[in-house]
């Protein structure tokens, strides 16, 4: 089949192309199972080598290629043509400065990530036998879903609250915080919860719900944010997370 791509371009170095503009490309011999990323590669490799995007793994695990495809955030390598149809519009994710074509400046995103102290703190000495700390599987399951996050930014850059105010830490940072707040081995939940109750923390979430369908890892982002809100209200992390039934996504 033939597929038409409409891509938002921008190249700060080239006069005439240094303002965002749209460009169309047509590809022949496309099959329904081709990935959008593969086809962007075909454009880059066969038609226009200046087309610029980030990518690496090509199977949805590295988080490099978040883009807005037909108006919805997704990883280009995880969307197939059969999911998006024969007319494909691709533009950079919103809310972060565009550097070139589909490449945005990720620094503000990672700054929010770092602000939630995304690392385990446990000052109790490790077990005397030198072995692992114990944790039961049910406790571990509280964070199974949120540890799945690959920091692709699909959720944060789909959030109208984040578009309206770039200071909002955003869904991804909250998901990352959730992963530690509800890790029974961690000892810094109070500090994290306090940081997240800041005006630019969880309360900027208006449960608009864009983030959940945008997540390529199937994380129930809005639910996770809700759990953090509840923990702040209860001032406790006990009995907050309902480990979802093993769910099929």
């Amino acid at each position: 089949m033939e597929v038409t791509f409409r891509i938002k371009r921008y190249n700060p170095e080239l006069p005439g192309k240094d303002k965002p503009y749209w460009q169309e490309f047509t590809l022949k011999d496309v099959v329904a199972t081709d990935r959008v990323l593969e086809l962007l590669h075909r454009i880059k490799w066969e038609q226009d080598g200046t087309l610029t995007m980030r990518r690496s793994c090509s199977h949805g695990i590295c988080g490099s290629d978040a883009m807005r495809i037909n108006g919805i955030n997704a990883l280009a390598c995880k969307l197939l043509i059969r999911d998006v149809g024969e007319k494909v519009q691709v533009e950079p994710i919103l809310g972060l400065p565009v550097l070139k074509d589909l490449v945005v400046d990720m620094e503000p995103f990672f700054e929010h990530y770092r602000a939630v102290m995304p690392y385990m703190v446990n000052n109790t000495p490790v077990p005397a036998d030198g072995r692992e700390r114990l944790q039961n599987q049910t406790d571990k399951d509280q964070i199974t879903e949120t540890t799945n996050c690959i920091l692709c930014a699909c959720c944060t850059t789909s959030c109208p609250s984040f578009w309206a105010n770039g200071k909002y830490v955003g869904p991804a940072a909250i998901v990352q915080a959730h992963r530690f707040i509800f890790d029974t081995r961690d000892q810094t939940s109070p500090t994290r919860l306090q940081a997240l109750s800041d005006p630019n923390g969880v309360w900027r979430c208006r449960t608009i719900y864009n983030c959940t369908p945008a997540c390529p890892r199937g994380i129930q982002v809005t639910k996770a944010i809700g759990e953090v809100k509840l923990a702040i209200r209860k001032n406790s992390t006990q009995n907050v997370v309902k480990v979802s039934e093993i769910k099929e996504h």
């Binding site: 690496s56 590295c62 114990l134 599987q137 799945n148």
Partner: protein, 607 residues
Amino acid sequence: MHIHKHEVIIVGAGGAGLMAALYASQGGADVAVISKLYPTRSHTGAALGGIGAALGNMEEDKPLWHAYDTVKGGDYLADQDAAKVLAEEAVAAVVELEHMGLPYDRNENGRISQRRFGGHTSNFGEKPVRRACHSADRTGHMILQTLYQQCIKNNARFFDEFHVIDLIVNNGVACGVVAVQLSTGDMHIFHGKAIFFATGGWGRVWQITSNAHSLTGDGAAICFRRGVPMQDMEFYQFHPTGLYGLGVLLTEGIRGEGGVLINGKGERFMEKYAPKIKDLASRDVVSRSIYMELRAGNGINGKNYVYLDIRPETVNRFLAEAGETRRIDTSTVIKALAETLDLCRTYAGVDPLTQPMPIQPTAHYAMGGIPTNIDTEVILDENKTVMRGLYAAGECACVSAHGANRLGTNSLVDLVVFGRRGGMVMANYVKGVDWTPLPDKPTAEIEAEFNRIRNSKGKLKTAELRNKMQQVMMDKVGVFRKGSEITEAVEDVKALTQEYMTNITIDDRGFKFNTDLLEAWELGNLLELAHVTAVSAVARTESRGAHSREDFPNRDDDQWMVHTLAKRCTDDLYPAEVPAMELNHKKAVDTSLADLDPRFLPKERTY
């Protein structure tokens, strides 16, 4: 020119690089980590099944058994001192990752849960053992995230999206690297006392691969051009279960949970090839068995693939036949193999709970690479002469714990064990040495090459050339090899390299985020490594591990208990002609465990 000065310069932020960064900074060194990708994009994150360590949480296990499996899996080409370090230090490293916060799955006692994996056995090959520690089937993702988190906690200095393009050597001492900053196109010099390469593999040499687009062997090629030999390049692993047509990896953990391989006649064919441990034989054996089935016309519907079946009814039928009491159900599969289900559904439209998965072998892992000793110091010859200031670990390095074939879960072990050792060794080293000054004009040669590519006006797009190379390597230097075909491949790759040097063109002549230019430069690395691989493969006239010669079907321990060291016969970084290659087969395999225990002596490998 921007010049940065840090005692330890780490190139690569996958598992090996981050582990080294952590331990070097904990040892008091001033560390910089340079990575062409954001650290969390590194391919370590794609590792699925698990990390092996003889914790003995599920049943009795010992590091010595792990070392034995590693040596045997490596078809006795593994250096036994390295295999010993790998198996012994795995235990501490895996536990330390837990202390850092890694969310392992747990057993009923709250300890780290472990599962079976190909080639891992108890008591010297007696029966499969549960040794692979895991976090569902996204163990690599969790390792990468956990290490990155710890680096943030420790305020590590990162240079993200800086692409390293050359190694700086002064009087035989490594003293820095040159990197391009992606966002500006500017060149930066990083001046260091210890330079550590952890740039990962080069699966992109082949057409069907589980490897990321970014895995282009930059670090290995850079060191090679600066006079470091490449060791054992003929040993490249094809993983048996890549998703048909795409090469995306389906973890061995599927077979660990009970999954079986089925041919077009509906037979569980691994019973023929590995009667004892069947589908869990080591990877080279399983990949070859699949090819034999395909050749015998036993593919599915006459096509080039077979099935991997994890449907509970299939698995339980075989478990019952084998007299095992264990049974699996849908929820076991969903829990243990969430990632796999997602991959199959997304990319193949197949639901593994109700349908078998179509698979074919896929280029997966480089056993060879930059030669090092067990302290990650880079070595230059059969006498293990150390190149001062230069270190390497992870997939780009060859220590060689994996010999001719790596066991599943042992790469992640390699990253954390040798990354950790490297970090500690470098922290010590930099305390005791002075700065080696930078040589004159350290960027001259690499700048000339970049200018050549930027201004190239030939006829061939780099993607076209890359495709041709990948096809040649897939057809002629793949799972089964013949002398005549590999010789053709050498000539083909040389011809393609000549084209690369004289007749390419790119579209993007700018500086900012010029991925067109960098991809072209990466192709130069792939060609360089394809060439060494083919040259090394022609010379080894035996079959061992992943290197399987139809014209020399047997292992030949009298002649070939040696590593291959391949050297480029020129000091010129970018010579006008494709450089000749010199092979050295004098570096003997370390057999220090066999000296103490005859069970480590080479013998026929049966599973």
